[in-house]
Structures are given as structure tokens and as C-alpha cells.
Amino acid sequence: MDIGAIFENTMRGFIGEQFIFFALAAIGLNIHFGFTGLLNFGQAVFMAAGAYGLSMMVVTWGLNFWVGVFVGLVIFPFILAVILGAPTLRLRADYLAIVTIAAAEIFRIMVRSPTFDRWTGSSDGLGGFATDFYDLSPFDPSERYFFDLFIGNQMWVVLIGWIVLAMAAFACWLLIRSPWGRVVKAIREDEDAARSLGKNAYWYKMQALYIGGVFGAMGGMLRAIGTQSAQPDNFITDVTFFVWVALILGGAGKVLGPVIGAAVLYAILNFSDIVLRQGVESNNIPDSIMSGTQVGQVRFMLVGLGLVLLATFRPQGILGNKEEMALDDR
């Protein structure tokens, strides 16, 4: 067993790119669910909106990188929020859950379909849209940085990612401590009470869906930049559940909950991943029990199990306290 590699991998989960992408998406989901009570199970689609917003503008239509960033962060999430929110936000909470999952499926089918290959690159996705980003990098692509954890380009993504993440967490903090945050929290608890006091619950929910979606899109866009490709498989429905586990693990309804949750989640996933992989490679785990491809499936099982255990035994997560717990409403 290679302890060094295990430690390195776990650390990379703790502070690396995956953590950043998912922490951003989880901050968005926190605004949706943790503060406003919206059951959004399509956060992966908002992430995809960021990724495809950027890549389609640049690759498909040949526009400038920064135009792509704008479209991916502002326009696409807006369209998506309207499409998802308009039919559901007046209705009981679980309708949004159903519609957002359905939207994730619609996205998967459409993006993979050869019919739209011209625009989306179907199942291969799009690539080569991030050169403008890496051109700005001060790091040498062939060097390793930060205790040798990241190579140059990775380091650049991680650095920018951390800055974006810090700003996102700060913006979230501002939002939540403001009167706006007070209204959405009231809506989470009792929409009718908020409406009786003159708050347009529908409109606030739409705003929350949008702004949370923007954070999701940031995560997705960074992911596309980091992997230098926008691929349907990176944004399937199951990706949403990683975001959910990160959020509930850290504590829904706490500003730093999603950040801590994502860090812990990815540390755990990366740890189990590399331990199992080493086990399989060294044949300490016989092939009849687990093969190389099955290692990848274990992380999904862990995520599922994590959701179950958290929802039933510790719905308030690491940071939360029972009194303010979002998961307990209604």
C-alpha cells in the first residue's frame, strides 16, 4: 500500500478542483434548498448550463471566451430557471423535485442525441474552448506546485477556483443576512405566512432558483474549464446527488455548510477510491469481488448511502443545529 499516494489523493479531494466545482454547486443548492426550501434535483443541469454556455459560445459559434463566460453564468441559468420554475414554483415542493429530475433527463437525452451534434458535439461533447483561460496562467504547465499536489494548469484552475469560491461564499453570506435572505427563509418555513405579509413568494423563489443556479453554473463552468471539455456524462442526474450529499453533510442552511461538506465528501471519496484501487491492483481484493470498473461504481454507492444515512440520522449535517434545520421543514 502506498500511503503517500493515499494521503496525496485525499488532500487533493480536500482542497482540489473537484472540491471547488462541487462546493460552488452546493452553495447554489444551499440557496435553493437550505435557505428557500426549493427541492432542486437538477443542479447538474445548472452546472451544465455553465459548461455548455461557455463551450457552445466559443466552439459552436466562435465567440469570444468572455462572451461565453457571460452567457454561461447569466443567460443560460436564467432561461433554465424560468423553464423549471414557471410551472412548479406555485405548487407543492415535490413538484419541483420531479420537474428538475425530469429536466436533467431531458438534458441528457438532448445533449447526447446525434440530432443536435452540430451544436453540442453529442456524447463526445465539446473541447478546446479554454485556451484563453490557460493563456493567462502564470504557472508553468510542466511544473508541480503546492506541495507537488497540482501541475501548472491544474494549479491555475485551483487558484482561480478558490478565489471564485471565496467570493461566492461571501456573496451568499451577504444575501442570507439581508432582508432578502429573511424573506426566503420565511418562504422556506411557511409560504402562506410570507404571502400574507405582502411578499411575492413566487417571485422570490424564482430569484432564488436563478441565483442558486448561477452558482451552480460557476461550478459547472469551472469543471468544464478544468477538464477542458464539456461532456454530457459530467452532468448526468447522479452528479446532482453528489452536490446534495455535500450540502447536507456540511449542513444545509449554513453559509459554510456546503464548502465544508464538499471538502469532506471529496476527501472521503478520493480516499476510498484510491484505497480500493490499490487493493484491486495489488490483488489484495480478488477480482471476483471487485474489478477496476467496479471501483468507480463504489463512489456512487457511497453517495447514495451517505444521503440515506444523513437524511435519517443527521439531517443537520456537520455544522447545523437541530433548531434551524432545513431538512425538517414541512
Binding site: L39, Y95, I98, I101, A102, A103, G304, V308, A311
Partner: protein, 458 residues
């Protein structure tokens, strides 16, 4: 036929005994099971049992059968059709000619990519190729594999007449809708009685299909069964699994007063957990049952259909009628509807709500498993199939109104037909998109569904 009698003898009415409620609930399950077995026993023989393909030959080969259908629907095998086989480089390897049974075989030197060209001049008069632009055909052959090359003749099935096409698609849609409906009843009743939006319900569908696969193909302790027996076993296993799921997870959660949202999130967790456990166990490749794979279409003029699909339709209708009767007539069925309608009222009028919930879980899961088997039979068995169907179920249940069993059925039929008929305008690989978009539209226009009702305020 003896099975039918077993089913009947249990239905004999005996009212107001001490444990009457329990017996009635057991009866409800037995009635359902009786219907299942009876219909299997009656209808199954009608479905022609054709031999499954074998792939034990060591020499790779191309083969095929050329046939056309006459006015009376009889198959006519065409002799003397000439086929030319070329390899990837374009070099001609040789020719094959169909025999009196319309069959042709061509042995290949090795696996690879080949092209098969059908000489249309050798076709009999009045028998054209159905897809002339798909000639020559390019096929991949694995080493040691036998590959069937299909050149459909005549224009019987694919019609340019849109009314006929719509009829055909509607029939397909009814089949799909019935399968969705069978699976969705449990989803709707579980929601109605417990308030849980159970996202793990789709996995019960997959589980049902896979349990049947286990009995039918993989084998348990070395023996395999016919698909019919496998389906019955799967029905039972899923019912038991649903009952255990309720007893082990959902009942304790209800006891602890867990919020519905927490329960919903937990159900999603189970969904992903079970899904990947099944992927882990069964692998990612789609699978087929051993029985009823290759069947000839029966032509009804306006539409044609393979016997197994006739069976599926007849069988589903029978099961659903059985369910409707059970819901309408038996005490257990009435209790289920009562609890689903108004839980508190039902409770205060002396219905043991927990018992009803238990049977909703058992019967709903059993039906979901059965739906999975049928779906696996019409298409294929895969680890994600249930999750895909789950979304269609949601569309159906939302359309019909959450919590209503009949609504679920009606919604399923509409969704099924809509999905199939929409392929006239939507590319087939995106047909589900139409249904899901319809789901959103319904919520905009009629949020309580067709048979649902609105909530109380204040």
C-alpha cells in the same frame, strides 16, 4: 388451468371473522397473484416459442432469412435471392443464395467489418426491398460469432400512410402505457397513503426485471425456469422486498416523525444506492430474456404486432382489471383507497393505517417488479431502466393526479401513447423528452392532475 382454481378457491367470501382484515388483505394479494398466474397460463401458449439464437459456432458467419408476407398474413420464404459479400477493403469474398426456406449462410474467414449487397434483380416481381437505400448493408462480426443480416422485404410494416402509422404507434403506446401504469400504481398509492414521493420506486422495477433474469437466464443453484415462472417468482420476491423495505426503513422513519422532505431525500439516496448496487452486480450491458426473443409480427391490417406484445397487452389489462376489482370490491382495496383519500378520517373510522400501508408497499412493489419484467420483455433489461421509467411514471402520475390509483392508470396510458405517437415528429432517440415536457406543461395548466384535488389552506 388448475392455477385458476387455486385463485378462485381463495376468493370464496367469508365475512367478519376475528382476523378478517388480515385475511382480506392476504386475499387481495392472492387475487392479484391468481390473476397473474391465470393469465400467464391462458395467454402464454399463444405466444410462439421460437428457439433462441446460439452463438457457439467457432467459424464467424453471416446469415439471414428472406421472407415476405402474403395477403392472408402467411409468411412466404423467398428462394434464389443473390447476395454478394465484400470485406472492408472492397474485395469480393463470394456470393450466397437463399434456399427453399429463404435462408442463406456465408462463412467468413475472420471477424471484422463486411458489406452485404443484395442483388435486387433476383427478387421476385412485386416484392421490393423495404429500405432500398439500406443496400448494401455494413455489418460488424465478432470472431466466432454468427451475425444475422436483415433485409426486410415488402412495405408491409412501414407505411407512408400516416393514419396507419398513428394506429400502429397508438398500439405501441398502449402497450408502453400499460407497463408504465402497472409500475406506477404503487408509486401513486405509496404517495397517497404515506405522503412519500418515493424516488426509489424505479429501482424496484429494475429489481423485478433482474430477478426474473436471474431465474430465467443466469440460473439459481444451477437450474433455470421459463420466463413465466421467473416472472411469478419475481413478483413474489419484489412484494416481499417491498414489505421489508417498508418494515425496515419507512415504518421506523414514520414512527420517528421524520419530515417528508427528509424521507424524500432518503428515498433518493436509496435510488442511487440500489441502482449502482445492481450495476455492480449485473454489469452495464443490456440483457435479454431467454424466451420469446425472436417473433414474427402478426398483421392486423392497420397495425402489426408480435405475439409477445399481444400477450403483454392482454396480460396487463387483465392484471389492471384485477387490481381495479380488488380496489373496488375487497375490504383491503377499499381501505387502501380510504387511507389514500383521507388518512386521518380513515384512521378515526377504525382502519389500521399501518397495515394498509404495509400492503400498499407489498402490492405496489410486486406490481412494479412485474412491470419491470414486462418492460424487460418488450425492450431490454438494464441497470438504469427503472430510473428512466420512474420519470415517465412521474409524468403519468402527475397527469393523473398524485395519490389516485385510477389517475395513475389514465395518466400512464396518455403518456405511453403520447410518447409513441410523438415519434412522428420527434426523433425516436428523444421520444421521452416529449413526455417530460408534457409533464411540465400539465403542471402549468392543471397542477392537480386530471383526477387530483387541491390542498387546504389556512
Amino acid at each position: 388451468m388448475s392455477v385458476v382454481q387455486i385463485g378462485r378457491s381463495v376468493v370464496d367470501p367469508c365475512h367478519d371473522q376475528p382476523s378478517a382484515r388480515r385475511t382480506y388483505l392476504i386475499k387481495l394479494a392472492m387475487v392479484a397473484l391468481g390473476v397473474v398466474t391465470a393469465v400467464f397460463a391462458m395467454v402464454a401458449p399463444a405466444a410462439a416459442h421460437l428457439p433462441a439464437q446460439t452463438d457457439s459456432e467457432s467459424i464467424p458467419e453471416l446469415r439471414g432469412t428472406m421472407r415476405t408476407v402474403d395477403e392472408g398474413g402467411e409468411s412466404i420464404f423467398v428462394e434464389g435471392i443473390n447476395l454478394t459479400i465484400t470485406d472492408a477493403s472492397g474485395a469480393e469474398l463470394g456470393q450466397a443464395v437463399t434456399d427453399a426456406d429463404g435462408e442463406w449462410v456465408f462463412e467468413l474467414p475472420e471477424g471484422g467489418t463486411y458489406e452485404v449487397f443484395l442483388d435486387e434483380a433476383t427478387l421476385p416481381d412485386g416484392v421490393p426491398l423495404r429500405n432500398p437505400d439500406r443496400n448494401p448493408l455494413t455489418v460488424d462480426v465478432g470472431n466466432g460469432a454468427s451475425r444475422t443480416v436483415l433485409f426486410p422485404l415488402g412495405d408491409a410494416a412501414v407505411s407512408t400512410d400516416t393514419t396507419i402509422e398513428i394506429v400502429q404507434l397508438t398500439v405501441d403506446g398502449i402497450k408502453l402505457g400499460l407497463v408504465i401504469g402497472m409500475s406506477a400504481i404503487g408509486l401513486s398509492l405509496i404517495y397517497g397513503t404515506t405522503g412519500l414521493t418515493n424516488f426509489a420506486h424505479g429501482e424496484m422495477v429494475t429489481f423485478g426485471a433482474m430477478v426474473a433474469f436471474l431465474f430465467n437466464v443466469t440460473g439459481v443453484f444451477g437450474w433455470t425456469t421459463s420466463l413465466i415462472v421467473a416472472a411469478i417468482l419475481s413478483f413474489i420476491v419484489c412484494g416481499v422486498a417491498g414489505g421489508l423495505f417498508n418494515a425496515g426503513v419507512w415504518r421506523p422513519l414514520r414512527r420517528r416523525g421524520a419530515s417528508l422532505i427528509a424521507a424524500l431525500v432518503a428515498s433518493l439516496g436509496f435510488s442511487i444506492l440500489f441502482r449502482y448496487m445492481m450495476l455492480y452486480q449485473f454489469g452495464g450491458r443490456a440483457k435479454l430474456y431467454k424466451d420469446y426473443q425472436i417473433q414474427e409480427k402478426v398483421d392486423f391490417g392497420w397495425f402489426s404486432i408480435v405475439p409477445k406484445d399481444i400477450f403483454i397487452i392482454v396480460f396487463s389489462v387483465a392484471v389492471l382489471i384485477g387490481i381495479a376489482i380488488a380496489l373496488q370490491r375487497t375490504r383491503a382495496g377499499k381501505a387502501m383507497r380510504a387511507v389514500s383519500d383521507n388518512r386521518d378520517l380513515a384512521e378515526s373510522s377504525g382502519i389500521d393505517v399501518e397495515l394498509v400501508i404495509k400492503w400498499v408497499w407489498v402490492s405496489g412493489s410486486a406490481l412494479a417488479g412485474l412491470g419491470g419484467v414486462l418492460f424487460g420483455l418488450t425492450e431490454s433489461i438494464g441497470w438504469e431502466m427503472g430510473f428512466r421509467i420512474l420519470l415517465l411514471m412521474f409524468a403519468a402520475v402527475t397527469l393523473g393526479g398524485l395519490g389516485s390509483a385510477y389517475g395513475a392508470l389514465l395518466g400512464s396510458l396518455i403518456v405511453g401513447i403520447f410518447i409513441q405517437v410523438s415519434t412522428i415528429v420527434i426523433p425516436t432517440d428523444m421520444k421521452n423528452v416529449g413526455a417530460l415536457l408534457m409533464l411540465m406543461l400539465i403542471l402549468l395548466i392543471r397542477p392537480d392532475g386530471l383526477l387530483g384535488r387541491s390542498e387546504r389552506i389556512g
